[in-house]
Each structure stands twice: as C-alpha cells, then as structure tokens.
Amino acid sequence: MTTDHTPIVQMKNIEKHFGSVIALAGVSLEVYPGECHCLLGDNGAGKSTFIKTMSGVHKPTKGEIFFEGQPMKFDRPRDSIAAGIATVYQDLAMIPLMSVSRNFFMGNEPVRKVGPMKFFDHNKANEVTMEEMRKMGINLRGPDQAVGTLSGGERQTVAIARAVHFGAKVLILDEPTSALGVRQTANVLATVDKVRKQGIAVVFITHNVRHAFAVGDRFTVLNRGVTLGTAKRGQISPEELQDMMAGGQELVALEGSLGTTV
C-alpha cells in the first residue's frame, strides 16, 4: 500500500509494567496513513494494554511514541483525541438511551450563540448526523432515534463515522467484530475499508484471523507481551498467522479434526 510514506504513528520498544506484572515487554509498531494494520493476539497477549498506551489511557513504562514524526506524550485520552487518535471500544462506543444525534456529538457538541449564551445547536447536529449516517449506509427513522434500537454493527459504524467526522487520523478499533453476527461483521468490515480509502490509518484489533484477512494490509502478532513480527498481506497465510497467535502446537493438532481455520 502506501508504505513509502512516513509512518503516522511509530511506537518503539514499548514496555508497560503493572507492579510486578510485565504486560508489554518491548513492542514496536508502525502505522501508515491509509493502511489497515491488524493487531492480532490471543486473550491476555497485551493487545488492549498496547492500544491503551497508544490512545493515552496508559503511560508506557519505557519506550517512545512518535506521532507524525514528533515524540508524543499523552497524559489523558482527551489529548490523543485532540491530536487525531480516536479509539472505538467494543461495548463502550455509544450510550443506548441517548439519541443517535446526541451520541454522535457527545463531547463535541456544536453550539449556537444567542447573546452571551451558548446553546446546543440541535438543528445542525441533526443534519450532520443524518448526512453522515446516509454516507455509512445506515437508515435512521430520525436523528432522535435512540442508539439502543440500533444493532451492534450499526453502533460500531456510528462510532466509526463519529471518529472520522471529528478528524481522526488514526482510528483504533478494539475488537469491533467480536460480539457481532456474520452480517453485521461484514458491514463493519466494509466500513473499515471505506475509512481506509479516505487515507485514515486504521489499527484493527482482533483475534479472528478471517476478519483480519478480510481488510488487513499488514498484520502484527502479539504474544505474551512481545511482538512475534509484522507481515504484509500476501507474505503469510491465515494458517501461519493462526499458529503464531496460538503460539503453540495444540492448534496444529486440532487442525485435523476442525478441518479449516478456526
């Protein structure tokens, strides 16, 4: 893809210790604009800790983070959001009781000035929301429809559209497909593809090799807090990736009885 560009995010030898537990023992990763970088790993491999370091929730114990070539120190999630790193969490993307439009502008409400007073500009919020939803292929009854009535896939899509609308340059998706059905997964993956084509760097965390292969340009495997390597699309087969993730022989032994990829 566009690997000749400079990386937008560069993480060098990131280490993160929680007391005596070493969650990350030197993880390096480069993310380029317009690519979908899949971060794979089994439960407990350190994926979540790693992306939380990237999004400013955790501070690395050791290591350096470069954002657009500059060394970055994020103290709070707000800093990274302001810099253009947006994270969409699996369950915590949206608030079900609030309307789509209120959710869409949560934390970024447009305001209309009336004298010295500032009011939430509902008309503008509603218009923008409907427009963005149309682009993403979601038909709403109205902008005041509650998010609770949307399916899980639609909620992820709304969250992604929100991040893109507010100028995300790097979009981190934390297991966006793990709780979804087949159809909804396909929708989210299609959304990821659309976003990548707009030149946004996508970091896609998953433990499902098939989902990763559907959209990924490069694949990095984490295991027990270290990177097992990064491979470009076409350099590695899904089976090899699966083996690396499992980090062991058990799956190879299982392969025979399962017949195909897990």
Binding site: M98, E109, N139
Partner: protein, 375 residues
C-alpha cells in the same frame, strides 16, 4: 405507518422495530407526569370542586406546597439523570436553615451575609459529596446516606450547644430592611392581587384590620424560585452542551469519558446544584416562618426522588426530564393538599404515594424498553 414502511424497505442491515407515530409521540419521559397531572386535576375537580380547593386561597395553598417539591425535585432530577442520588437533601434543608438562623440571630450578622455564607457552605458540602463519590467510586446512595446523618446531627447539635434549644426564632425581626431577605421571603404582584380583590375576582377579608384586602395578597417568592429553577434546569438539560454531558454521564460514564466528556466535573456540579436547590428551599422556609427548626426537611429527599420518578426519570440515570419532575412535584402537592380539601383521611396520602410510585416505575421500565429495544 407508511413512512416507516419506506425506511424498512431501504434498510439493508438489520430489522428495525417500527413504531407508529402516535406510539412514538408517547415515548417521552414526561408521559407519566402528563397523564398523572390530568388524572389528578380531573379527580379533584369532580370530587372537591366545592371544597374551596380551587378558589384563590386553595389554589395558593397547593401551589406553594407543589413549588416546595418542585425546587428540590429539579435538583434531584438533574442529579439522577447524571447517574447519582442525593439522600442528604432533607438534612441539608434543616442544616441550611439552622446556619442562617445561627449566623443572623445568634452571631448577629447581616441577613444577606448569613444567606450568602449558608449558600457557600452548603454548596461546598454538595461538592464534597460529589468529590467523594467520583473519587472513591462508591455508590452515591451510601455516601449521601452518611451525609443524611452527619448534617441532621449538626442541625440538632449546633442550636442545642449554642442556644440550648432546637428551634431558633426571631429571624423576621433581624431580616427587617435587609436587601436579600425579600428575594426569598417576599411576595410579588401584590398590586395585581389587590386590584383583583377590588374587582371582586378573588376573595377579600370581610372584617378585621385587613378588611377589603385580598386574602391572597401576592405570589410568594418561593413560587418564583420554583419556576425560575424549572426553566433553568429545562434549558440546561435540553438546550446546552452541558445538558448533553449530563445525559452522557448518567447513561454510561465510561463511554462518556472515552468520548471526552468531563464526567467528574458534571457529576460534582450536579451535586452542588442539588445542594443549591435544598438551600433555596431552606432559605424560603426560614424567611416565611421566621424561624429555623432542627427537624425541618425530614424525608424531603425521598419525596424529591418520588417526584422525579413519577416525572419519568430512570433511577439508573441517563434518562429523564425536568418538566416531568416538575409535573411529578405538582401531582405530589395537589394530592397532598387535595385530600385535605376533599375531607379524606390524610394518612391515605401515603398509600396513594406508594401506589403511584409503583405505577410510575413500572411505566418507566416499559418506556425504557421501547426506547432501547431491550427484550
């Protein structure tokens, strides 16, 4: 139904529940409050019309009681939408009233200074409540339950230690000529009411020193405060970005934080606003009675929460309406006073309260299921 069928046809992802526009219009937090208000007024118009409940004194009677409920209900409502409770409201009312009395009568401060200092202290206590809740992550139920006892204890301890009694009077005398006291204890539209009395529109005293003057001589500032707080709360909640943060903080605090909403600040300010409302209530009461009692405001926290729930807010936060809470308070006040006018045994008020609370909660749960599509 036609419009909704069209969207169904375009929807390529998921089956979307379709509602008729009528049903959709019903799905609003105020529904219970609106229905309840109509029902309560219909009931009393039919059964207590001749009792004097709807003449000027009667109407003023239940309006004042409702306004009292409204002031604390708006605070409790915004706090509940932000996802927290304050059980210390009742004790705060007693405590705030006592502070005003001690500062102005015992210590001899000017009344305006006593009032402003009391507001500062009570809102600081509200902030402390909120700070403890957001810092420790403990349920606000427990934290404010502690303050329910702490503040009530002080409201009794302070006057007993200083004045050897639990009621401090004489505030009317010291408040004479003060510029701030009438803002809480005064009346407005007195000219309009005396004109209405002269025109024979409302009842006037027929004999005695005030013969010819109207029985109801103006609108108490308590009612003005109630209306102002309702308008402020409603605009804040529905028309500002801070209102969106209140919904977000109560809907899902973690999701709101990830989206950049300053959840802790929102929650602490709502605790302070609740304390502010309780202090307004206390100040109006002290100025009206001319005294402060250690037992004032007993059980008011629960009455505020009941009014809010009748008004359609969810106990779990993230959903509700200030208008609904105000209607809940109106129902509360009208029924409490109406039963008296209708000559019904007043203890039945509690029975009514329990029943209506239960119905309101069941209705709210049903509405929430419709909104979120839960099964």
């Amino acid at each position: 139904m036609n419009e909704s069928i069209q969207t169904e046809a375009n929807s390529d992802d998921e089956r979307v529940n379709q509602y008729s526009s009528f049903r959709q219009a019903l799905i609003r937090p105020e529904l219970g409050g609106i229905v309840g208000t109509i029902a309560v007024f219909t009931f009393f118009l039919l059964f207590a019309f001749d009792s004097g409940m709807f003449n000027s004194q009667g109407a003023m009677n239940w309006s004042v009681v409702s306004a009292q409920f409204m002031i604390i209900a708006v605070g409790a409502c915004l706090l509940m939408i932000a996802g927290e409770f304050d059980l210390s409201v009742g004790s705060m009312i007693g405590f705030a009233g006592m502070l005003i009395a001690i500062f102005s009568v015992t210590l001899g401060w000017p009344v305006w200074m006593a009032i402003l200092m009391t507001f500062a202290i009570c809102m600081a206590i509200g902030a402390l409540n909120g700070f403890i809740v957001v810092r420790t992550g403990l349920p606000s139920f427990i934290v404010t339950l502690a303050f329910l006892f702490i503040l009530r204890g002080f409201a009794i301890f302070l006057p007993q230690t200083i004045e050897r009694k639990t009621i401090i009077g004489g505030i009317k005398d010291v408040a004479e000529g003060d510029w701030l006291a009438p803002v809480f204890g005064g009346k407005i539209l007195t000219g309009f009411f005396s004109w209405m009395g002269e025109a024979g529109l409302i009842n006037t005293f027929e004999r005695g020193t005030r013969a010819g003057q109207p029985v109801v001589d103006g609108v108490p500032m308590l009612i003005v405060w109630a209306i102002a707080i309702i308008i402020f709360g409603h605009i804040l909640l529905t028309k500002t970005r801070f209102g969106n943060w209140i919904f977000a903080a109560g809907g899902d605090a973690q999701a709101a934080r990830y989206a950049g909403v300053p959840v802790n600040r929102v929650k602490i300010s709502m605790f302070m606003f609740t304390a502010f409302c309780a202090t307004v209530f206390a100040t109006c009461q002290v100025m009206e009675f001319g005294s402060a009692g250690a037992d004032r405001g007993l059980l008011k926290e629960f009455e505020a929460i009941i009014a809010v729930v009748i008004g359609g807010a969810l106990l779990t936060g993230g959903y509700g309406s200030v208008i609904g809470a105000a209607l809940g308070a109106l129902i509360f006040g009208v029924v409490q006073q109406g039963l008296f006018f209708a000559g019904v045994e007043s203890s039945l008020f509690r029975v009514f309260l329990g029943v209506i609370l239960l119905f309101a909660v069941i209705l709210n749960t049903y509405i929430r299921r419709m909104i979120t599509g839960e099964r």
